[in-house]
Subunit: 158 residues, 2 copies
DNA sequence: ATCAAATAGGACTGATTGGGTCCTCTTTGA
DNA sequence: TCAAAGAGGACCCAATCAGTCCTATTTGAT
């Protein structure tokens, strides 16, 4: 069904939540347990997603007491393709493309070998043109001067 | 990794092979065992894929002795999105979109609810703009007047 | 009329993948 | 010195999918 993993879905939700909580670049950090409570996602899963996002450089982890996570970029600067690549791995519809020779046993017969590249490029382009801000919607990107939202703040009706 | 299923990959290969064998609309039919031999895909799997494609109306099955399959449309008229939808199901990156209410337990918290639609549309558009002819490449679409290729015919160097 | 070839449809099984959890170590503010 | 929180890795269970097989139906050929 061409679906992406749940982890990627969670990643988008969590990053949107980080932005709403004011945990942007150089902002306050937000803890994994706090984000779990705010999003309804299980705490260990939230921690796992944040670790992955941290390795990809999409969020920054602050260790120690009073630690937590914050975004390294504002949502409009984060293309969806980057989040998917961080969580799900490289964006490629078939295993052939990056597997090189030998990955496909029907290589000698394969009539479509090497022709998936335009498809993958098209998908990548589509996912790169959409940013997390598009997914999070207005009101999710905390702007300077705005009162920081708390976890109990009402979610704006959409 | 956003990968589509192997069955979809097989479907593209098989349909490209059908075109190359001259089994286009109103053309000769090609048997499942013959296609299996020509593509290197296991015969039961070929049969399974053809059955699925037949239900979707992408190929036409002729029953009985001397039966087989033929394409219902020429490759340039078959968008890749249609093949993927036939084999893998509807193209949607998340389960939320078509599940309606109640499909997501975090619905009340979900900050990105309903915002995946533009993403799905972008993916669908990208996959609809590519036809099987693009994937099969030149030489795969048998034109009237051309000598019908046999299974042992050399595959044109690409 | 009978047989053989081939599709149609469905059921079943094994393996791969990924979601989810847990444990330990390190860091750091109180 | 302690507690809170992230970092990293290992592990287990479940869902999904690929692949196979069986049976019924159709239809041309003998």
């Amino acid at each position: 069904m061409l679906r992406l993993s749940k982890l990627t879905d969670y990643a988008v939700v969590i990053m949107a939540r980080l932005a709403r909580e004011g945990a942007g670049p150089d902002g306050r950090v937000q803890t994994a347990p706090g984000l779990a409570a705010a999003t309804g996602i299980a705490e260990p899963t939230v921690a796992k997603v944040l670790k992955i996002l941290g390795q990809a450089g999409l969020v920054e982890g602050v260790r120690g007491a009073r630690g937590g996570y914050r975004l390294t970029r504002l949502l409009p600067a984060v293309p969806l393709a980057e989040v998917i690549a961080a969580v799900d791995g490289p964006i490629a519809l078939t295993a052939c493309v990056d597997g090189g020779a030998g990955a496909c046993e029907a290589e000698a017969f394969c009539a479509v070998r090497g022709r998936w590249d335009p498809v993958n490029d098209a998908i990548r382009a589509a996912l790169s043109s959409i940013t997390l801000a598009d997914l999070a919607g207005p009101g999710c990107c905390a702007r300077p001067g705005l009162a920081p939202a708390t976890a109990s703040a009402a979610i704006p009706a959409e």
